[in-house]
């Protein structure tokens, strides 16, 4: 009887431990049971993080960047599986390495093609050995609402001598869009993955440094096109709309365009949205980087080429982190240079990491053709520190968004029932889930850090009733497909009904 009681207590304790979300971090000293390797765009780490929080508990985020700042190349998450996912049992310690620097085709599309040579990844030892808790952080707290930042500081990552084939790759939009000038391995033929699936909708925007935002909040599509194609190189070619600048040409000053590298989903999306490439064929306009070459350097990341020097610049940033870094650098420099950047909206300017001084945004997202991504009011403002509803993207009034894609090397991979395929399939299910979105209005469903995140594509929604973060129009995995400008949503929408 005593033995039985003890066994019951033990069982209860184990059950309680397994069923609890209390922070019992795996810790860097524990060897992972599984290590999985993924890759994709620099706009997707938060979505991967959100999906990870659905699959694992006590999750830590490791970084090699000093001062506990987010890593610029790898998003490395380490936690314990909540439930069994196929052949991956519950209670196992799993490390996920997501590589993102260099563009979403480079990391999420091309590596999934049959001819791929894989991607470089750090050794597990270099991630965990000598890793220390970031000052002020709590171990295992990555998924705690309001957190979502690195919890462990690693030393310098040591890259393995042999590349690895990632189990899946994420691209900001469908892989065929990375053809022609969007293909970093041109003139070779576009390398397509073995299989692709459309997942959530990824919202992009135009971010401008705070000095420019003080003068102008609203840009027309043709103004953005002129800047991206290089016909507008001085701010005095545009008119302002803010106090002291409204209705008059902006003060003269060279345009600083924080551009992206070829293969970047950011760049591909902006070429498609503003320049009509490739869907408009002969009517497409080529980016200035193609016509004139990049002018100003190869990568910001807080160092030159963006300096307080006169002259038009078209800076080739290698990740969204580089763009954010240079926007901050320029805003802080106080030299009056005004910058504009193509940037996905998972980089909200209102959070501390994207501000130069607490409460002061280094940059802001502008309206496009009089339409912001949200209402711009308190509690529903991408540029604030709190939340966004993405309401205008959901309605289709704000059209700068695309359906991100989940790519695998072979069509049968996800059903091959290996630990790798089963865990990848679990991620796919989360990335398609209508309950994943990070926009406000879905309590408890925000991304780590309460940051703006994704909206679910209509193709993947099983219901729209009560769900506020599902777009009511869809790219259907095809950037060429037109987006209908829905003006109103009459309450909740039953799937299959006409929202108008």
């Amino acid at each position: 009887m005593k033995m039985s009681t003890k066994a019951s207590y033990l069982a209860c304790s184990i059950a309680a431990a397994l069923g609890s979300n209390a922070a019992f971090a795996v810790g860097p000293g524990v060897t992972p049971d599984f290590v999985f390797y993924y890759g994709g765009g620099s706009a997707e780490p938060q979505a991967v993080g959100a999906a990870t929080c659905r699959l694992m508990s006590n999750v830590d985020l490791y970084t090699s960047t000093a001062a506990g700042k987010a890593d610029t190349k790898y998003y490395i998450l380490y936690g314990t599986t909540l439930v069994a996912n196929g052949t991956v049992p519950a209670g196992k310690n799993v490390m996920v390495m997501y590589k993102f620097n260099g563009g979403s085709y480079t990391n999420g599309g091309q590596p999934q093609s049959p001819a791929s040579v894989g991607l470089p990844y750090p050794t597990v030892a270099s991630v965990t050995t000598s890793a220390a808790l970031v000052p002020g952080a709590t171990a295992g707290s990555y998924c705690t609402p309001g957190n979502g930042v690195p919890t462990f500081q690693s030393g310098t990552f040591t890259i393995e001598s042999t590349n690895r084939q990632p189990d899946f790759g994420l691209t900001d939009l469908e892989v065929p869009a990375f053809a022609g000038i969007n293909n970093p391995i041109a003139p070779a033929a576009l390398s397509l993955p073995g299989a692709s699936a459309g997942i959530y909708d990824l919202v992009f925007g135009i971010a401008v440094s705070s000095q420019l935002y003080a003068q102008k909040h609203n840009f027309s599509y043709s103004e953005v096109a002129g800047i991206l194609s290089g016909t507008i190189t001085n701010w005095n070619q545009l008119y302002g709309d803010q106090a002291g600048f409204a209705g008059a040409a902006l003060p003269a000053g060279d345009v600083i365009l924080l551009d992206r590298n070829i293969g970047s989903g950011h760049k591909t999306s902006s070429s498609a949205e503003f320049l009509g490439y490739p869907q408009l064929g002969a009517l497409a306009t080529l980016p200035t980087s193609v016509v004139n070459g990049y002018l100003g350097g190869s990568d910001g990341l807080g160092t030159p080429p963006v300096v307080c020097a006169a002259g038009y610049q078209d800076v080739q940033e290698s990740s969204a982190a580089g763009s954010v870094s240079d926007l901050k650098l320029l805003a802080a420099a106080g030299c009056g240079l005004r910058a504009i950047s193509i940037l996905s909206m998972d980089n909200p300017p209102g959070i501390a990491a994207n501000q130069n001084v607490a409460g002061t945004n280094a940059y802001d997202f502008v309206m496009l053709n009089n339409t912001a991504v949200d209402t711009g009011t308190t509690g529903d403002d991408e540029n604030s520190a709190t939340a966004t509803s993405y309401v205008n993207a959901i309605k289709g009034n704000y059209t700068d968004f695309y359906q991100a894609h989940f790519n695998t090397k072979t069509s049968g991979f996800l059903t091959s029932h290996t630990t790798n395929s089963d865990f990848a399939a679990a991620y796919l299910a989360q990335l398609k889930s209508a309950s994943l979105p990070g926009c406000s209005g879905s309590p408890g469903k925000k991304f780590p850090g309460n940051l703006p995140g994704v909206i679910t594509d209509l193709d993947n929604a099983t219901t729209l009733t009560g769900v506020t973060c599902v777009s009511v129009t869809s790219r259907n995995g095809n950037s060429d497909s037109p987006l209908s400008p829905f003006k109103t949503i009459p309450g909740n929408i039953t799937l299959g009904s006409d929202p108008l």
Partner: protein
């Protein structure tokens, strides 16, 4: 024994041929040298033939005459069932200014240097891709659909930017056997060159495929024997007429 030796030689030759590095490849560019090149597009199959004349933009003499017999390279690309067109292009770029020598069925519509550069970029991208396509010749190559000249993002952009025509048929090209004017576009101005290009092929009833550039409206000189024959016949006619009168 001898037979065996011959077979070995043959096998060796075949192996060498197969192992030989693939020759591509044209070395055209649209930035510095701006070599003058010919496009023949098969608009039925969405493929094209590219020929490098070897004449740089700087060396091209607008007042001169050129003739290129490309029968051996082009003949296998042509057939009697498909539709073909041709154009001749050259582009360079210095700083932010492009210079073109290009054929057209209409006169260019020049908007701005920036607009011109959009056209130059399309040519440059086309040539980078075309140079990488494997060919057995260093002066010509047949381009598949993925790289063909007639694509909307290649010829289409050029036509749109330089001729303000974004729809097929594009304005840089015309049918085989039809003369094409050539224009020099520099900055925001253009001049019409004094001569025209023509590509006459076996499809027009000839025995060769020849690309020519020469003065417009020039009389075709008769061969000397024909001149002698004509003058002789004329003289005979005069003599005969005088004899009739005398009689």
């Amino acid at each position: 024994m001898i037979s065996s030796f011959r077979i070995k030689l043959l096998a060796g030759a075949v192996a060498l041929a197969l192992a030989a590095p693939s020759m591509a490849n044209t070395t055209l560019n649209a930035t510095t040298t701006g070599d003058v090149f010919l496009n023949v597009t098969d608009t039925t199959n969405s493929t094209s033939f590219l020929f490098d004349t070897g004449v740089t933009q700087a060396a091209f003499n607008a007042n001169g005459s050129y003739s290129f017999d490309i029968t051996s390279a082009l003949s296998s690309f042509l057939n009697t069932t498909d539709s073909f067109s041709y154009s001749v292009i050259s582009a360079t770029k210095s700083g932010l200014n492009s210079v073109f020598d290009l054929t057209g069925v209409t006169t260019p519509v020049i908007v701005s240097n920036s607009n011109n550069n959009q056209g130059q970029a399309a040519i440059s991208l086309f040539l980078v891709a075309a140079n990488a396509v494997t060919s057995g010749s260093s002066t010509s190559v047949v381009l598949p659909t993925a790289q063909w000249w007639g694509a909307s993002l290649t010829e289409g952009i050029l036509s749109n930017r330089l001729f303000a025509n974004a729809v097929v048929p594009y304005s840089d090209a015309t049918a085989l056997g039809t003369a094409l004017s050539m224009y020099n576009v520099t900055g925001t101005g253009f001049t019409t060159l004094p001569s025209t290009w023509d590509l006459t092929t076996t499809l027009q009833g000839g025995t060769k495929d020849v690309l020519t550039y020469g003065p417009q409206g020039s009389p075709v000189p008769l061969p000397t024997p024909l001149l002698l024959l004509a003058s002789g016949l004329g003289l005979m006619g005069v003599v005969s007429r005088r004899r009739k009168i005398e009689a």
